[in-house]
Symmetry: C2
């Protein structure tokens, strides 16, 4: 079945298709709001999620609805914009067609295409690990981690086996980039403080949180002084930090380093593997699967096709633009602006990354901030983090509402979100037993503010 209104032969307005409604896709769509085009946005979920706060959903600190909004709602005022929920199964750059399957089934003909498919974590060739070591890229991922995190304590409370109990109360976070640091920094607060009074047979203060990094230091994308500050803060919270350490095996029973079974629970925040959509474009890719784009963000040989966000490899003077939210927003905006400039008969702009600074939080009142010459750590940096995130979230929630919600969560550890929804029956209990193999665990992902 062919869809539809925006794509018939009758239409004289250029047809723009955007794949993905993350930061890059959403900002591209918004930048086209006054353009004389017919726009279709396709995403595999019905919501845009504020990815930098996913770790708060994963740790039962914020509710999914606090950090997500329906794509339709976000674009409701753009009458020329149609939103479709579905998987993109094929892109034919010769026929200029995008095939969508799922809830929406459509073959969309485009004049311009912006591909913003993002990235997933990389399991470095061990694709079997993913089911046991959930990542943190979507709301579903975050809810999976939340469920496993809370279930581990339920199982620990129920078991009489001391070895099993210790394994259940140990949590390994793989990857010392911002996501891994933020996740590892929040887990001890929830485990040791929020949950402490609720259990009778276990003492949740004995929970162990281990942060593994394959490289020499945490937060490799930050200056060394801030990396040291973050490590100190994490250690101060009782997080065990192990650098130059790689995971050797992950099974349903947990995670191994060498021959040592160190924990029943493992969460994955390492590596970046670009969306498979990149391979459908016939354009050159870098070794992480990202599409090597022209300075105007179009692909070689198809100037009507743009790539933006984590799927794009954009070279700055010395190194690629980092895979962070502000870069994705800027790339999406630039791709859209270049379409507008085409339509206005103007020359395209080359993308220039404006680095507004990198931020990462550690726990609930410490952070690090790198604004180039200005570097901060500790409480003040945390306030910066808070202000920046409330301002960005304001795009889809009322600022006051977010502030009240957060203040409430901050002082009470809002327990309403500590819900285990469907599916616990499906998960096998943890028990060590399978032999360790060989593998790596290394963070490639850069900052998230």
């Amino acid at each position: 079945m062919s869809v539809g209104r925006a794509h018939t032969a009758m239409s004289h307005r250029p047809r723009v298709v955007i794949i993905g409604a993350g930061f890059a896709g959403l900002y591209a769509a918004r930048a086209l709001r006054h353009a004389a085009v017919d726009l279709t946005v396709v995403d595999r979920t019905n919501h845009h999620v504020f990815q930098p706060l996913l770790y708060q959903v994963a740790t039962a600190t914020l509710a999914p609805s606090d950090i997500a909004a329906p794509v339709r709602w976000l674009l409701r005022a753009q009458r020329h914009t149609t939103v479709l929920l579905g998987d993109v199964t094929a892109i034919d750059v010769t026929r200029r067609m995008v095939s969508v399957r799922g809830t929406a089934t459509a073959d969309l003909i485009y004049d311009y295409l912006i591909v913003a498919g993002g990235a997933r974590h990389s399991y470095f060739g061990h694709s079997g690990w993913e089911q046991h070591a959930p990542g943190l890229k979507s709301l579903d991922d975050a809810l999976e981690i939340r469920s496993r995190f809370l279930l581990a304590f339920e199982r620990a409370e129920a078991t009489a086996n001391a070895v099993e109990r210790r394994a259940l109360m140990t949590f390994v976070v793989v990857g010392g980039g911002p996501t891994g640091v933020e996740l590892a920094g929040m887990l001890p607060l929830i485990a040791r403080r929020a949950l402490q009074s609720e259990f009778r047979r276990i003492d949740t203060r004995e929970s162990r949180i281990i942060l593994l990094e394959g490289g020499a230091r945490l937060l490799a994308s930050f200056p060394e002084s801030l990396s040291r500050a973050a490590t100190r803060d994490l250690l101060g919270m009782g997080v065990e930090v192990r650098t130059q350490t790689v995971v050797t095996q992950v099974t349903s029973a947990g995670v191994w380093i060498g021959d040592e079974h160190i924990a029943a629970n493992v969460f994955w925040a390492a590596g970046n593997e670009a969306s498979p959509l990149g391979r459908m474009l016939g354009a050159p890719l870098d070794r992480n699967g990202r599409v090597l784009v022209n300075p105007d963000l179009s692909i070689p040989s198809h100037r009507e096709v743009f790539v933006a966000g984590d799927l794009a490899h954009v070279d700055e003077e010395t190194r690629p633009v980092p895979a962070v939210a502000p870069a994705a927003m800027q790339e999406g905006t630039t791709a859209a602006r270049n379409i507008r400039r085409d339509l206005e008969g103007k020359a395209r702009d080359a993308f220039r990354y404006r680095n507004k600074g990198d931020l990462a939080t550690i726990g609930r009142h410490r952070a690090i901030a790198d604004f180039g010459r200005l570097r901060m750590s500790g409480f003040l940096a945390w306030w910066f983090w808070l202000v920046v995130h409330i301002m960005y979230l304001a795009g889809f929630r009322n600022r006051l509402s977010v502030l009240i919600q957060w203040a409430w969560a901050y002082f009470t550890y809002q327990r309403g979100v500590r819900l285990i929804l469907s599916g616990w029956r499906a998960q096998p209990p943890a028990s060590a037993g399978e032999p360790p193999g060989v593998g790596v665990g290394r963070s490639d992902r850069a900052g998230s503010a």
Copy 2:
């Protein structure tokens, strides 16, 4: 493996086990907070849910975390209380043992048992209908309805088939009790107002909501005048109300009345089928599977076993105590008090239901209220409803926080909760085709305030 601290031979304190942490189980547990017992509460979820507001989660009006709280958190101050997450697979009233399997695996020996397993909807012998017509008894149920409700519009927007589109935009609610009325009263507001600006190819104002009731009138447990007021309000909102009408077939393609395929979507709010736990007690049951209890809520031949809540059949003078939340709270409290009185060497009390009135809302600013001599409908009744529910919710959330949240939701239709989480790929698209069969759809459930 046998659990544990509360149940060794060393213990001289009576061991009390409560199955279920709904209103009856939770209120029983709280009523034992100062009793010299060792208490274990078993539930198959980790949270207590405020059931009367489930329809607001199902209609994407409130978030799950707004109406639920972890059972552990609710009972955290009771140091003698252990909470276990698991399914009860057997109750042996002779050996006084409850078998728990799942996250917790335990055989719990009790001196006193309170069984508060609640009820599910009844599909009147058509158990195959349940997968296509989700009910509204748990958060998982509510999220299933929310997902189907939102996906129906996604599919309607994507299809080019006018017949399919009309079926997708038609929603049938089966059962004209309070749950059905409240669900049917909220659907048009979300469908027609909240979603209206977000779609391009469909006009969500054309959505149809049909409320089916097998009996002669809606809200059979209320006085006829209020039943008429509710019907008038629903009709005024554009809900089609069909009484003395039964569903004849439910398949993955939707719902039939006679030979007519009337909708692709069907939500179930009819009938009450008691938890299968009742059958494990060897006690007499009524025709709905509820346990016929003594006036003190114990079962015949086992005075140490109590049944409370929707699973209990308690006779008042003229008719059984209704299956409503206040009755469950009162029964749980009475069962617990009778255990305390046993321990104090006092005679047990007979249960007496104190009817504080019945309430049901219609949409966002109308309700009906029956306080015996005082009957109200319309806006004032809705304010009563609001005040009562905020007061009850206060048990696990701060009143101010709930009020702000609700005010926010009321004025904005908080869109953050309109999330479709995992699983849409698993659902088949709707298409009529299977032949209708024979069946019934009738509401048995009584009021919910």
